[in-house]
Amino acid sequence: MNEMSLRRLLQPFKLFRNLTKKPMTLVFPQEALPPVDNYRGRQFLDPEKCVGCGMCSRVCPNDAVTMVEYMDKKCPEINLGKCCFCALCAENCPTGALYMTSEVFIAGYDKSFAVYGPEKLSKKEGA
Amino acid sequence: MEERFNESVTYVEDAETTTLLVDNGLAEEVASALKEIGFNHFSDVTVVDYLEEEEFELIYHLWSHGAHARLMLKTRIPRSDAAMKSFTPIWRSAHMHERECHEMFGIDFIGHTELTPLLLEDWEGIPPLRKDFDSRKYVLEKFYGGERE
């Protein structure tokens, strides 16, 4: 059995010095974490560069990308409800038309809100 | 060990793994002999379903803490009458792995005391990890009425 010494019993009280330190949490939304580049958020499409090869659609693990008609060629339409944000589509795009931004605030009232067609993908909304 | 089982055991070694291919009937004796030599840690039992050849291949993975050596023990059983002697008397940790294989593939382990469902609940149908069970078709019919959304 361990010997109870007063010193060991009072040791956890050293934690009181944490009261004078700044807390680890941030008051959201006034103080938010700064966005990091290379973050895997929502996709962004540049329709001029897209050649309609369909590579993003074939590589997606969840079948979230379908090719639809837009501006006389095929462009991707992404269903963000099925997307797992793994960025395989952006990495395998041969022209660099599709890339990931650091937008993470995607919410709506209806499931159809989550389907981002080529026009919606090419708009950068404010942070 | 090769002296005892010379004709009926095939010994395959390549750069990474060592494999022993055994007949169904001899598997238990070989396993006891391996435990005596020093393979005291039973890692896993895997089942691979070869649909065209109508066989299940059972693969036992063993590790020896003393000699830092790994071994694969393979045996084949027919698909229509899938039964195999349980290795639980030799390695106690095989108990739960065999129970999972029974549930997922439908293999009967003779001598196992508790072959009840482990992970799935209220499952009626063929054992799900077999190759003739198409899980995508099952999900589409049961939850989406046959159409992709």
């Binding site: - | 993975h61 106690r92 990890l129």
Partner: protein
């Protein structure tokens, strides 16, 4: 003492804050546990069947989700097994980066474990401090891989992107902050009188029983057996790095706790050593294409995760999808074999302490 009162069965249930997502039926006689029957299956997602429908590249974001507490180890095992079946090699720089991130994953998992154990035993301050300590490592994760919790970073043939600039500075800052905080854990948790009274002298698992029941990882090393896959069967670049294997003698719950606490320090040494020896060069092998075909081979690869031995059995059949993948989580034997064995001689109040000293991950059991 036998009376007419029958034994009472209570659920150590899936909605209990100290059991994770794992259910066990506990039969008690007064305060003593008579029998414990584990009942996994609440997190069964069918990974083995899912992996048969996707190519080798599409499986790599999927494998993270097997055990979220230590995703780098699950990815490392998958990637090495896939490399053997596809017959491609990763370059040196890629292997060093993978080793560094795997050790960060181990530190993250151990800090999470300290937090949850403190919460379960009743020491809530430990939980909040531990969750704050995870933050610098998660920010490194974010900068390097692009995601805070799910990395999706390893690939058969290397890693997906190179390390960012300023990586070495970030790592030094995070590690020195962590070293200062480890003293806090020492006087709050590991030298705390109440914590020790709750954890010492319960849940004895000696070496023979541990090997018989299939224990691996810190649970086995706390019983005195020096078994670590990073030294016994080195993979990646562990044979070029210097570190010690931590063992303890006693085999009770507190010995397992101390084993993990000392492993955090060893991991920090490994990271510093690896950064020192990091070579230049390619970070991935360009021979791996999205639809590369495998050879007709099968392989079995084991790596050492924070909890024990994580193994992948992969069968390739000449197409671009694997024929069969079997994942063996380290917590399979721990929760289903060792936990019932240790709980049989304990009081009800000791059950959460024993359960979390084995460091289970219910997602590993069910996959």
């Amino acid at each position: 003492m036998t009376t007419d009162i029958p034994f009472f069965t209570i659920p150590f249930g899936p909605c209990h804050p100290s059991s994770g997502h794992f259910h066990a039926s506990v039969t008690v006689d007064g305060e003593r546990v008579v029998n414990l029957v584990p009942d996994p299956g609440y997190l069964h997602r069918g990974f083995e069947k899912l992996m048969e429908y996707r190519t080798y590249l599409q499986n790599s974001p999927l494998v993270d989700r097997i055990c979220i507490l230590d995703p780098f180890a699950a990815e490392l095992g998958y990637v090495n097994a896939a490399e053997k079946v596809l017959e491609i090699e990763a370059p040196e720089r890629g292997k060093f980066i993978r080793t560094i991130m795997a050790e960060f994953g181990r530190i993250l998992s151990h800090i999470t474990w300290i937090g949850v154990t403190c919460m379960v035993v009743g020491l809530d301050s430990g939980c909040k401090i531990a969750w704050g300590d995870r933050e610098p490592i998660i920010r490194i994760n974010e900068k390097v891989t692009g995601g805070r919790i799910y990395p999706c970073y390893f690939l058969p043939g290397g890693v997906r992107r190179d390390l960012p600039e300023g990586f070495t500075g970030m790592v030094e800052e995070a590690l020195s902050g962590l070293e200062k905080n480890l003293e806090q854990y020492d006087f709050l948790v590991f030298n705390n009188e109440t914590f020790r009274v709750r954890m010492e002298d319960i849940g004895f698992l000696d070496a023979e029983d541990a090997i018989r029941l299939g224990a691996t990882g810190p649970n086995l090393r706390a019983a005195g057996v020096e078994a670590d896959l990073r030294k016994d069967q080195p993979y990646e670049v562990y044979d070029q790095l210097e570190f010690n294997v931590v063992t303890q003698d006693k085999g009770d719950a507190f010995a397992r706790d101390m084993c993990r606490r000392l492993e955090i320090e060893e991991s920090m040494n490994i990271i510093r050593d690896a950064i020192h020896k990091l070579p230049e060069g390619d970070y991935k092998n360009k021979a791996f294409k999205p639809f590369s075909k495998a050879k007709k081979k099968e392989t079995y690869f084991c790596c050492e995760s924070a909890r024990g031995e994580q193994c992948y059995h992969m069968v390739g059949d000449g197409t671009d999808k694997p024929y069969r993948v079997k994942v063996r989580g380290p917590s399979f034997s721990h929760t289903l074999d060792e936990f019932p064995y240790l709980a049989k001689k304990a009081y009800i109040a000791d059950i959460p302490a024993i359960y979390w000293s084995l460091d289970p991950c219910p997602a590993d059991v069910d996959r």
